[in-house]
Amino acid sequence: MNLLDLRERRYQLILDRVNKLKKSQCVIKANYPGPKKENIYSSYSVISAFRYMKKKIDIADIFFELDDEGFIAIFSFEKDAGEVKKIAIDYEKKSPLGPLVDIDIYGKDGKEISRQDLNLPQRTCFLCQAPAKECSRSRKHKQDQIENFYIETVLAYILSPTSSLKFVDFVLTNELMRRASLGTVTCLKSGCHKDMDFFTFLDSSEVLSHEFKKLKNLNDRSFLSLRKLGLEIEKNMFKVTKGANTHKGIIFSFLIILNALAFTDDFYSLTDVIKNYSKTLEKDFSNLLNEKTLMLYNKYGIRGARGQALDGYKEVFDDYLAFFEKEKDLTKLFLYIASKTDDTNLINRTSYQEALTFKKYIRERDLAFLEGFALEKNISLGGSCDLVAISLLIFLIKNNYKRIKEEVIGHGN
């Protein structure tokens, strides 16, 4: 569907919701230029606005969509529509990511509340302060100029020195912005999981972005010390997820990658540093592991998340990173990874042979078939999701090495 069809269909959906639910509606979408608005920056700006509105007012009937217009959040609320519009305008104006989203409010009559209705001044363009409507109508600014501003604004926000590592939250929430689920939790589906959903992951991401900040004041950067910190972070993750395992694998790999920044001077030495640093993990394979993990290793040589660290995340640095830089599409990246990696979540839920078959299907069959197959077999490709997040993290580090190292490690090390 093209943008015009998407917009018309979505407008109809909103009117249908007003009629059916008899409640005012809020729609949050990215204020991103051009025909393809779906990307990591626009998604994060919508997520941030959604979290803000969710904190400010009681919302219900939450519904998400992900298409060429980007990630879109729609929900109902009981509060006075004019009041909610004022809250939205306040966010659009005052929050760092506010100018990057449109928060539209539809009253119980299905009519959109405008700034004019509230006797408020028109929204201004984020580049030149003229009325935004006139700039977009006359195409005053070039598309790449607006895109640059958009991306720089998001980067400045997620890399700014605060009490949490916001770029971690950026990576982990974006990992969920996939049009393909294959049994995993995404912004659209919970896959085959009954104990967690998109909101569990949003909360978990936020906690992790705070927890990883502890790396900055770590005096002892030995593997043992990192393991201890990992267990502490895990405990705090389980507290907010009420026992669901949202990010255990991520805690392991992100700690190793981020801590490795302390021993590097540039991006290109990172993979070797991780490799050397992780050597200790080899010992795990001689005694410490559970039966299943050992069996996979002894029989097929598959070492799972530990193996990825031991290899210095070679598959990410050598392959997935370039794929993402070229395609700039998380759904494609996810499917690409799933078709290549030995996902231990998948193997453990099926068998080695079935996992091979499924990987072959990913290359050959359409998405509808794959989704049905995953649900039927109760498959969840959690390992591939972790690699999507790791690829995004490495992508960010590559392009912002100094800023990220400063935020994670600081000067002292």
């Binding site: 015009l4 917009r7 018309e8 979505r10 407008y11 109809q12 449109d102 539209d104 009519k111 959109e112 405008s114 409507k133 006139e134 977009s136 109508r137 006359s138 195409r139």
Partner: protein, 87 residues
């Protein structure tokens, strides 16, 4: 092209417009509202009339509620509305 029935196309969201048309037999009756009427009203009216002429529509009642749509959007919305009315 002949307008056989009522038809609607578009939306009342920003950067879009809602086009509603219905048959009539005394030429083109256009009513236009726009959030950028002062700056772009004339230009929008011209696009609507040009599009109708291109499609050889001689008689219709057309209402366009514009929310700052680009020229190409207005043209596409009018075209689709006319096609739907001709179906």
């Amino acid at each position: 092209m002949e307008i056989k029935k009522e038809a609607v196309c578009g939306s009342l969201t920003s950067n879009d417009c809602l086009v509603s048309i219905r048959p009539c037999d005394n030429g083109i009756n256009l009513s236009l509202t726009s959030s950028v009427m002062r700056q772009f009203g004339k230009q929008i009216e011209k696009i609507i009339r040009d599009t109708l002429e291109e499609m050889d529509v001689k008689n219709l009642e057309i209402k366009v509620e514009d929310k700052g749509a680009l020229d190409c959007t207005i043209k596409a919305r009018v075209e689709t509305a006319v096609k739907r009315a001709n179906d």
